[in-house]
């Protein structure tokens, strides 16, 4: 059996990127109850900024870092300009603003020369060598670096939420905005920070994905849709859920591609399987694996 470990590994690799993308999504939802439909486009923005910087002759690592810093500011800006006015508006309005934003960002990317083409990073020398052999299958150095970076960022954020003062403040706001405000927390600052941090992780996900499978607007922005099955499975407001959900969806997706594609005419179950899982989760356990269950009493 060569197939199974290969599928599992590929699943974990792509799953770690899903987890990273879902982390940004959860950060925003957790603090401000906003579902961000523009997340895929922010991922693409981060990746293309990094790519544009390497085109100018900048070192890959430095370019990635600067891209993350730029999107950090960008996230804060988006919150400040568009989302701050929407506090207290009905959910449909907030969702539609992010859908509108996704369209705006896509239009802006199309204004640069990067909108239509297919690009790839020049792989840094450290990552182009011989890969690693795990469970009898090859794992390239870029994939390994991607997974490790993703895990480091995820671990860092988990630590940040549990230990640092700012992280605890953000959790407090997520828990009860009114109570947090009444003890002197600036809720606005927390919202801005959540958007900024989410954009930062999005850029990281974009750069890693770009390094592994090339840069196209459609491919990068498409991750924004994959985030939904991940966060619904893991629980919309749980960081751990984002990690576990990302890995699970990544693995399930690859398993379905490996074992179900032969049974379905035309194949391509990879695209649809996560959404079938999503519906099943919604019907059986709407709050996901780790999400908070909301109890209502009439």
């Amino acid at each position: 059996m060569e197939l199974l470990p290969q599928l599992l590994l590929a699943g974990v690799v792509i799953g770690s990127i899903y987890a990273l993308a879902a982390l940004g999504f959860v950060l925003i939802y957790k603090s401000s109850r906003v579902i961000n439909f523009a997340h895929g486009q922010i991922i693409a923005t981060g990746a293309f900024i990094a790519f544009a910087l390497t085109q100018r002759g900048l070192n890959f690592w430095l370019a990635g870092l600067i891209a993350m810093l730029i999107t950090f500011g960008l996230g804060m800006l988006i919150e400040r300009v568009f989302l701050r006015r929407m506090v207290g508006e009905p959910i449909i309005s907030v969702i539609m603003v992010t859908i509108g934003l996704s369209s705006v960002i896509e239009g802006l990317i199309h204004l640069t020369p990067y909108g239509a083409g297919n690009f790839s990073f020049t792989t840094p020398a450290v990552l182009s060598g011989e890969g690693l052999s795990v469970l009898g299958t090859q794992l390239s150095r870029t994939q390994l670096a991607g997974v490790l970076t993703a895990l480091a960022l995820l671990g860092g954020f988990t630590y940040f939420f549990n230990k640092s003062t700012l992280g605890i403040t953000m959790r407090a706001v997520a828990d009860d905005q009114m109570a947090a405000m009444s003890v002197g927390t600036s809720v606005e600052r927390v919202f801005a920070l959540a958007w900024a941090a989410a954009a930062l992780t999005a850029a990281a996900a974009g750069v890693i994905l770009g390094l592994m499978s090339g840069l196209t607007l459609g491919g990068l922005a498409g991750i924004g849709l994959k985030v939904f099955p991940v966060v619904i499975l893991g629980g919309l407001d749980s960081v751990v859920g984002a990690i576990v959900g990302g890995m699970l969806i990544g693995v399930l997706e690859n398993l379905s591609a490996g074992y179900l594609d032969g049974l379905v005419p035309g194949g391509g179950t990879r695209e649809v399987f996560p959404f079938i899982v999503l519906i099943a989760v919604l019907l059986l356990r709407p709050y996901g694996l780790f999400g908070t269950k909301e109890i209502e009493r009439v």
Binding site: I35, F82, R85, M86, E89, P90, I91, I92, S93, I95, M96, V97, I99, G100, L101, S102, S103, V104, I105, E106, G107, L108, H110, L111, T112, P113, G115, A116, G117, L225, F228, P229, I232, L236, V264, P265, G266, G268, E271, V272, F275, I276, L278, I279, L282, L283, P286, E296, V298
Partner: protein, 357 residues
């Protein structure tokens, strides 16, 4: 007869009978007649290329009417309206090509198919609310697109061409296509608009609003929120199915690209820009979005010819989503009640004319 036959100012109603009249002044009655005549004469006045857009606007208006029932009135966010349209379109296509049904049976059948699927997809709404439901309809949209792409019966998402239609001895042909369908879509749109208005006046309509505003309070008052939500889904997707059937015949073929996520987002945008939960908004929204798209297409063609953009940039693919997204965001930020509110203000002005209050 009122004291002033032209404006409402200065007219005082002293009897219930006067209060219940449909037309308060003869000017209103006259404007309706003029409006209907204008609508009937429109194909003779407009150039052919614009008439095509008018037909598109009317078909989208049917779908947006349905979306306004689910999203505008009942507050169920539906990111799958285009998929319901697609269900209607494919059902109509199958009925027309396999069963050889005439179009006046095939299109309602598409509506019924849309309603059935819509009610089924709405089932999670019994347990879920807000965001979760939005995600459920999104998932349906994606599963639908995938499913159509893999079913040989549906040409795997490729084009299924529709038969040519004949009414009263007039055949739909290359020469009169837009005009022909204008006169077929217009009565459907008007009829469904009237139905919309009247359904929302019944107890079902009132229970939709109650569920939207506060479903726990609605439940406490004896309304069954689940039933109201499912009814809303049924009506909304019935409209979508009819729109899909019309679209299939109008485009002469069914292609999966017409019913993708992008169309769903466009329909939502139309509902928002027009004004959620309003009848005039359901017409103004599609008008605005289709006109904007058309305008941006022309504008970017002109801009592209001026060599402003760097090499490799297609102005149309850049400016159209940009303008589309910006219009949604700006409307939500500055005029959440949409174009319907402007329409209301204009009407109010003429009602009060010549006074300002």
């Amino acid at each position: 007869m009122p004291a002033s036959r032209f404006t409402q100012t200065g007219n005082y109603r002293v009897r219930y009978q006067q209060d219940q009249t449909i037309f308060a002044t003869s000017a209103e009655q006259a404007s309706l007649i003029v409006g209907v005549l204008l609508l009937l004469a429109l194909p003779l006045l407009l150039p052919k290329t614009l008439l095509r857009d008018v037909n598109m606007i009317m078909i989208f208006a049917v779908a947006v009417l349905g979306l306004n029932v689910t999203t505008g009135y009942t507050g169920l966010i539906n990111i799958g309206q285009a998929a319901f349209m697609g269900v209607g379109a494919y059902a109509t296509a199958l009925a027309a090509t396999r069963l050889n049904l005439p179009f006046f049976l095939a299109i309602p059948l598409g509506g019924v198919a849309g309603a059935l699927v819509g009610t089924f997809v709405g089932l999670p709404s019994l347990r879920l609310k807000y965001l979760y439901l939005a995600v459920a309809t999104l998932a349906f949209q994606i599963i639908f697109e995938w499913l159509v792409g893999h079913l040989p019966v549906l040409a795997q998402g490729g084009a299924i061409s529709m038969p040519t239609v004949q009414v009263f001895g007039i055949r739909d042909s290359f020469l009169n296509h837009n005009r022909f369908w204008y006169y077929l879509i217009l009565p459907v749109l008007v009829g469904l608009g009237l139905l919309w208005r009247n359904v929302l006046r019944t107890r079902h309509g009132r229970s939709f609003i109650a569920v939207r505003d506060n479903d726990r309070a609605a439940a406490a008052m004896g309304i069954h929120p689940g039933r109201a939500k499912l009814t809303a889904f049924m009506i909304g997707s019935f409209y979508a199915g009819i729109a899909g059937g019309l679209f299939a015949y109008f485009q002469k073929a069914v292609v999966i690209e017409d019913y993708g996520l992008h169309t769903s987002v466009q329909l939502l945008a139309m509902a928002i820009v027009g004004g959620l939960g309003s009848l005039p908004g359901s017409f103004l929204g599609p008008l605005f979005i289709v006109a904007l798209d058309r305008f941006m297409g022309n504008a970017s063609e002109w801009l592209g010819a001026q060599n402003i953009f760097p090499q490799g940039v297609d102005a149309a693919t850049a400016l159209r989503p940009l303008a589309f997204g910006l219009s949604i965001v700006l409307f939500l930020m500055f005029e959440p009640r949409g174009l319907a509110n402007w329409w209301r203000l204009v009407r109010l002005y003429f009602k009060k004319w010549p006074y300002k209050f």
